[in-house]
């Protein structure tokens, strides 16, 4: 079912992230207006929507980097915005986030970047850290790139290193911010495979934020489509594709015109051209 009236939580659902009545505005612009959203545990859930709809903002709200004006966000039963700074940081050690840019520390090597969270949060001996880092790098296929600096990596490689770093502490969930943007077909295929594999092999929960319809629907178990501060549709990829909503069809099919107009609002062309200007 791809409609807004679907009951969010169903009996037997194990919900890891529960968002209720989320409202958030920034710079006078309302980005979320009463959004309800559930992320089931152990699944790949995708949040899709046009550029500028606040998908990245949603991840920052879940991670506690931004504070909503109204509503609650619970992660594993804990209200993220009611936690003390120490408790929030403790919760974040169980969350991984893959930034669009990779966000690797440019003064460290690939090895140093992946080892960073282990060195910060554990008291493991260096020999153990080395083994763990190599295992994580092996999982993303970059064990051989351990001595490279971030500026020597391609965009796809940087994201894979960031992914290895995100899973270094074996988190319960990973949030992916636009993981497919600007990737060549091979890197894209590698990332799609990695996201699915890591989710299933490590029993993770994955939240993928993207506007890439084809690749996102190919890995997602569940989809949310958001626009204009609201959830426009929710359901499995098949349910969303079967939606009767014109807006959802335009978004999923990538149609140039529809409920979302091709032209930015403007006076009639003739008026503009003949006007004194």
């Amino acid at each position: 079912m791809a409609s807004g009236d679907r009951r969010l939580e169903e009996p037997g659902d194990d919900i890891l992230v529960r968002i209720r009545g989320l409202a958030f505005a920034h710079g006078g612009r309302r980005i979320f207006d009463g959004v309800d959203l559930d992320i089931p545990r152990g699944k790949v859930t995708a949040v899709m929507g046009p550029s500028g709809t606040g998908k990245t903002t949603l991840l920052k709200l879940i991670g506690g980097q931004l504070r909503p004006q109204a509503g609650t966000i619970e992660v594993d039963g804990e209200d993220v915005h009611a936690l003390s700074k120490g408790d929030l940081f403790r919760l974040r050690t169980r969350m991984g986030m893959l930034f669009q840019s990779g966000a690797l520390l440019t003064d460290l090597t690939v090895f140093g970047n992946v080892a960073y969270p282990l060195r910060e949060h554990t008291r493991l001996p260096e020999s153990m850290i080395r083994k763990l880092v190599l295992i994580k790098l092996e999982a993303v296929g970059l064990r051989g790139a351990r001595d490279l600096k971030p500026n020597e990596l391609s965009g796809g490689m940087a994201r894979r290193v960031a992914l290895a770093r995100a899973i270094a502490l074996d988190p319960m969930m990973i949030m992916y911010d636009e993981p497919f943007t600007g990737q060549d077909p091979i890197s894209m295929g590698v990332l799609v495979k990695l996201i699915r594999q890591l989710n299933d092999a490590s029993r993770l929960t994955s939240i993928v934020v993207s506007h890439d319809v084809a690749d996102t629907t190919s890995i997602a178990d569940y989809l949310y489509v958001i626009a204009g501060g609201k959830v426009m549709a929710r359901g499995t990829p098949a349910e969303i594709r079967a939606s009767s909503s014109e807006w959802v069809t335009q978004f999923m099919e990538g149609l140039p015109d529809g409920p979302v107009h091709f032209h930015y609002p403007a006076p009639a062309l003739a008026t503009d051209l003949l006007g004194a200007g």
Binding site: K60, G63, Q65, F89, R90, R92, T93, M95, G96, M97, F99, Q100, S101, A103, L104, L105, T106, Y116, P117, E120, H121, A162, R165
Partner: protein, 259 residues
């Protein structure tokens, strides 16, 4: 008229908001001191970045400033038959004023701008956000070591500037202009006071180190995360630091040496 007033009010509010954010950031930076003391290697790395890497420009500038002081000082002093006082004039000028002030201006230009650009780019490339999401406080981990690195480096660099300046003054005064060697050093030794001159110079350096590093870190942290934003922030660091150092120098000098 009303529009101009509104614009003025807006500018005032903007400046006050920045001042408030700057102080909040400073508090957050200072609260990171205990965790910095537990990891002194982070501090040593920043003393290297801010201090050691500025040594060359400080030494070269100090040498030339000392030589010029000696030339100009000799011209004036010789007219009163007081050339023997050249040593004390060079040393007092350097230790009290030029050492702390010129060092602060040079550090603002070299290390301050680098700090702003580094922090601004870390923000623009989401490295600071990335640290936060790794449950690492970027202020304590990145900004606090840089702040104390800058604070501690400044008096050391100023001392180096003054010492090299005195040697430059000696070469010109004694070597070129024929001032008596013994008089140059003995007058300096008897007239330069530990508390009055040297300690006051160190206090000035510490104040300048505090202000310059604070401005540099705040501008980087508060920068709009775009290339224009970072470039503007870097320029502001140099301009605001220079103005702050010169204004504070007047205030400190009046407090320390005014009768």
């Amino acid at each position: 008229m009303l529009e101009a007033l509104a614009r003025l009010g807006h500018l005032g509010l903007h400046a006050l908001a920045r001042l408030g954010r700057g102080h909040l950031l400073l508090l957050a930076i200072l609260s990171g001191l205990p965790s910095l003391l537990a990891r002194p290697r982070l501090l040593l790395a920043q003393i290297h970045n801010v201090g050691v890497l500025s040594v060359l420009i400080i030494v070269v500038s100090g040498l030339f400033v000392g030589m010029v002081l000696s030339l100009q000082g000799h011209y004036v002093l010789s007219q009163f038959g007081a050339s023997e006082s050249l040593g004390v004039m060079v040393a007092a000028s350097l230790v009290r004023e030029l050492g702390p002030v010129v060092t602060a201006l040079l550090v603002a230009g070299r290390a301050g701008s680098a700090l702003t650009a580094e922090i601004g780019l870390m923000k623009a490339t989401e490295q600071l956000s990335g640290l936060e999401m790794m449950a690492v406080d970027p202020i304590k981990r990145i900004l606090t070591p840089r702040f104390f690195g800058g604070l501690l480096s400044m008096p050391l660099l100023a001392a180096m500037f003054s010492a090299v300046g005195v040697i430059g003054g000696y070469f010109v005064g004694v070597g070129l202009l024929g001032v008596d060697d013994g008089a140059f050093w003995s007058q300096m030794q008897s007239k330069i006071d530990w508390r009055e001159d040297i300690v006051n110079g160190v206090i000035k350096s510490l104040v300048f180190g505090w202000v310059v590093t604070w401005i540099a870190l705040f501008e980087g942290h508060d920068a709009i995360p775009t290339s224009e934003g970072v470039s503007g922030a870097t320029t502001r660091t140099v301009v605001h630091s220079a103005l702050a150092v010169l204004c504070l120098d007047f205030v400190l000098t009046a407090l320390m040496f005014g009768d």
